[in-house]
């Protein structure tokens, strides 16, 4: 396979995953805006920060008011991470790697682009927002479904999956890092309804409210939520789950190609950092520091993958 094709697949699925994550972040932000009238701007600011676009946003807008934030995250072409931008990028990637995709995956991606392009052609009104967000999530699920249902489990698939889980790991780590302070034991907030709303937001932004209720039997705690999102082996958006998937897919590539690279070592290290850990020790060492390390390590791993598999000349 061409290195450029591997890179196109990796980025195609990173972009698709990002569109879904951004939609979910907005949804969680909306929920908090509806339930708490004070401090709404602070919430929207944290949403933009989680999306990694605080500086870009401040170049365009002065205040983190809801309409600006939503438009910036959904439609702004100057924001390379806006849903519109990433869907356009994903579709460009797909066009570039079209010969590596099944007809189903290509058509699902092209459909996604056509639909999202039309949906986001005009500013989204508040009352339309829930439907628009649902469309975005559904479209990326359709591509994923086509991928699972029709693609050979070969290197093409592995690069697609690595892209998905790299993006997802980064996203989960950012969500936790931006909100880590609400997960810390703090005398003034413990047990208040404020905490509950914040916790729920975190769970909502990774679509894990219900899963967490099953897990915790309704008993929410800060540490419990952190444990769930970082160390749960079954939650498909937990850090350990993402790192395990990345490691597995890189492992398939190594055995297919008969070659080990630096990215394989980095991925092992990253996984080891989490296996056998418990959440108490992570809190003891400092949650913020731990998440910062994870984000940096994920980034380093990304660069290593790009180099080792020759994405660019």
């Amino acid at each position: 396979m061409l290195g450029r094709t591997a890179g196109g697949l990796y980025w195609m699925f990173r972009h698709l995953e990002r569109s879904e994550n951004t939609a979910r972040l907005i949804e969680a932000g909306m929920r908090i805006a509806l339930t708490r009238s004070d401090d709404v701007e602070k919430e929207w600011k944290s949403v933009v920060t989680t999306a990694g676009q605080k500086d870009a946003f401040l170049e365009r807008h002065e205040r983190f008011d809801q309409a600006n934030v939503i438009d910036f995250l959904l439609r702004d072409r100057t924001n390379p991470s806006s849903v519109r931008s990433v869907i356009e990028s994903a579709r460009s990637n797909a066009r570039e790697v079209r010969t590596a995709l099944t007809r189903e995956v290509w058509e699902a991606t092209n459909d996604t682009w056509l639909t999202v392009r039309d949906t986001l052609a005009r500013p989204v009104l508040d009352r339309e927002l829930p439907d628009v967000l649902a469309v975005i999530r559904r479209e990326s699920a359709l591509v994923r479904g086509a991928l699972h249902g029709t693609m050979l489990r070969n290197d093409i698939y592995n690069f697609a999956r690595i892209g998905t889980f790299m993006e997802r790991a980064d996203n989960t780590a950012r969500i936790l890092d931006v909100k880590y302070y609400v997960l810390l034991p703090s005398a003034s907030y413990v047990g208040t309804s404020l905490d509950n709303v914040q916790w729920e937001t975190i769970l909502r932004s990774v679509s894990a409210q219900r899963a967490y209720r099953w897990r915790s039997a309704g008993d929410a705690s800060a540490m419990g939520i952190a444990d769930f999102l970082i160390l749960d082996q079954q939650l498909p958006r937990s850090l350990v789950f993402c790192y395990r998937k990345i490691d597995e897919n890189l492992g398939y590539l190594a055995s297919d190609y008969g070659e080990h690279h630096r990215c394989h070592e980095l991925s092992h290290d990253l996984l080891l950092r989490l296996t056998g850990r418990n959440i108490e020790s992570i809190f003891e060492d400092g949650l913020h520091e731990f998440l910062g390390d994870c984000i940096r390590a994920t980034n380093t791993l990304g660069h290593a993958i790009e180099r080792d598999y020759r994405f660019t000349a």
């Binding site: 396979m1 061409l2 290195g3 450029r4 591997a6 356009e88 460009s92 066009r95 570039e96 079209r98 010969t99 007809r103 290509w106 058509e107 092209n110 459909d111 056509l114 290197d155 590539l253 190609y257 070659e259 598999y309 020759r310 660019t312 000349a313």
Partner: protein
């Protein structure tokens, strides 16, 4: 349907009677509900949009992709008619390859005085880098598209030879695919010759010209300028159908005297490069130094026998519009035969007498740039405004050698389906010929382009033209 007076309609002739090749189709059509057909027509468009069979328009906003309009009424050619065209195309393609070999070697045709030396010497399409070099298998034009127009029951003219990188074949294939899906019943009642062999034939043609030292199955790659090129869909489509790699210039480099693509496992050498990049951009070391689309050093590898490039660099000298006017000479010189397909009478504006005639008759003529393509920069006299004519007069006077002129041909029409039923529209035909060392294969049919606007004679997709499925009937 009323035919357009003065023009030959391929379904209804002069309007007095249905022509034989369309008999079965017309029987079917007469029983169809026009509303169902219009709906099918809209379905086809949605299908094209959904599959991404689009082209990018130059000079419009980036990312602007358009569909080529598709008309569901097939263009039908009788077996006997096709047999004649096929022989004519084969003769022409043979002559073109002989001409190219000669022009880059002993130039006998110039020595014999059949073509003036300046036509070649002053021509940018002539590549000195190709002098004395014979491409692998002796094939210069692996793929040729011959543009034909019909003016009468018996009269076909060659409008243009496309010997560089002819495009459009993906539409030939997708149009048939679409018709098969939408109207399977048509193909059970009429015996239409298939076109689906094209990708396999293309692959085997290309593989047959692999460099001599290739061992095993040759690795074929399609070189595309990338996703912003207007024909990108076709590049990806052909690579996919042939099971070839789709590469861009920056995927390739010279490794140990060969051209290798950068794979996830390291460099892998390529044997045959089906390039959809113009000569000028092919190798920044040899041609346009600012090109980012090509591969630095590919010409050196090519000349030392490390790779096959299809079509060979420098084939443009054979489809240049100034050289076109000498095609009857070329065919006679290399085959000893009379041309089976007619050339359109052509005035070379480089010649003072011709220029004077052309300037006097601009409102009747079609004027084309010698190196132009895609319908850009041409004047259709009868349809042009006064202002356009005076603008072209200035252009012609400023650089006469840049232009040729031809009479406005009475292009045949074929009906298209409109909201008001069938309506005649002008068409041309681009059949595709594949050349390998021992054979020339011509896919039965080709791409029919149709001017969707009433009365228009310009069929180019860049100018709003559409396409039709082209049927060659079995005997």
């Amino acid at each position: 349907m009323d035919v357009r007076p003065g023009y030959f309609d391929e379904m209804y002739g002069d309007g007095s009677a249905l022509r034989a090749p369309y008999r079965q189709y017309e029987e079917w059509f007469a029983r169809e509900d026009p509303r169902r057909l219009l709906k099918k027509s809209a379905d086809a468009e949605a299908l094209f949009r959904r599959t991404g069979i689009t082209f990018n328009v130059y000079g419009s906003e980036e990312g602007d992709e358009r569909l080529i309009p598709f008309d569901i009424v097939p263009r039908i050619i009788a077996a006997r008619e096709w047999a004649r065209l096929e022989r004519g195309i084969e003769q022409r393609v043979r002559a073109i390859n002989a001409f190219l070999h000669d022009i880059y070697h002993r130039q006998e045709i110039l020595r014999a005085g059949r073509i003036p030396k300046e036509v070649i010497a002053d021509n940018d399409a002539f590549l000195p880098e190709m002098i004395g070099f014979t491409p692998p298998g002796g094939v210069y034009t692996h793929i040729v598209g011959i543009d034909l127009v019909r003016t009468d029951d018996n009269d076909f003219y060659v409008l243009e030879d496309n010997a560089r990188t002819p495009s459009g074949v993906s539409y030939m294939l997708e149009n048939r695919e679409t018709m098969l899906q939408m109207f399977p019943e048509l193909f059970t009642r009429s015996r239409v010759r298939p076109v689906s062999e094209y990708p396999r034939d293309l692959r085997s043609s290309l593989a047959a010209t692999a460099p001599v030292r290739t061992s095993g199955r040759p690795l074929v790659a399609v070189l595309t300028p990338g996703i912003h090129n207007s024909a990108y869909f076709e590049h990806a489509f052909l690579a996919d159908q042939m099971g070839a790699e789709l590469v861009e210039g920056h995927d390739l480099s010279v490794v140990d005297g060969r051209i290798a693509m950068r794979t996830t496992e390291g460099p892998e050498p390529i044997d045959v490069l089906y390039r959809r990049v113009d000569d000028d951009y092919l190798d920044p070391l040899t041609f346009n130094p600012s090109s980012l689309l090509g591969v630095p050093g590919v010409m050196d590898v090519y000349r030392s026998g490390g790779i096959t490039i299809a079509n060979a660099p420098g084939t443009g000298i054979a489809d240049d519009k100034a050289v076109y006017s000498y095609m009857p000479e070329i065919i006679d010189f290399y085959t000893g035969e009379k041309p089976l397909l007619q050339n359109v009478p052509t005035w070379r504006c480089s010649e003072p007498d011709s220029l004077a005639y052309v300037l006097d008759h601009l409102s009747e003529l079609v004027v084309k740039e010698v190196h132009g393509s895609g319908g850009y920069g041409m004047l259709v006299g009868p349809a042009a405004s006064k202002r356009e004519i005076s603008r072209f007069t200035r252009k012609l006077k400023a650089s006469p050698a840049n232009y040729i002129a031809q009479p406005t041909l009475a292009l045949s029409t074929v009906p298209i389906l409109t909201r008001n039923g069938l309506a005649p529209r002008h068409v041309d035909l681009r059949p595709f010929a594949l050349v390998s060392p021992n054979t020339i294969r011509i896919t039965p049919g080709g791409l029919t382009r149709v001017a969707m606007k009433r009365g228009s004679l310009v069929v180019n997709s860049s100018q709003g033209g559409g396409t039709k499925d082209t049927w060659v009937m079995e005997d």
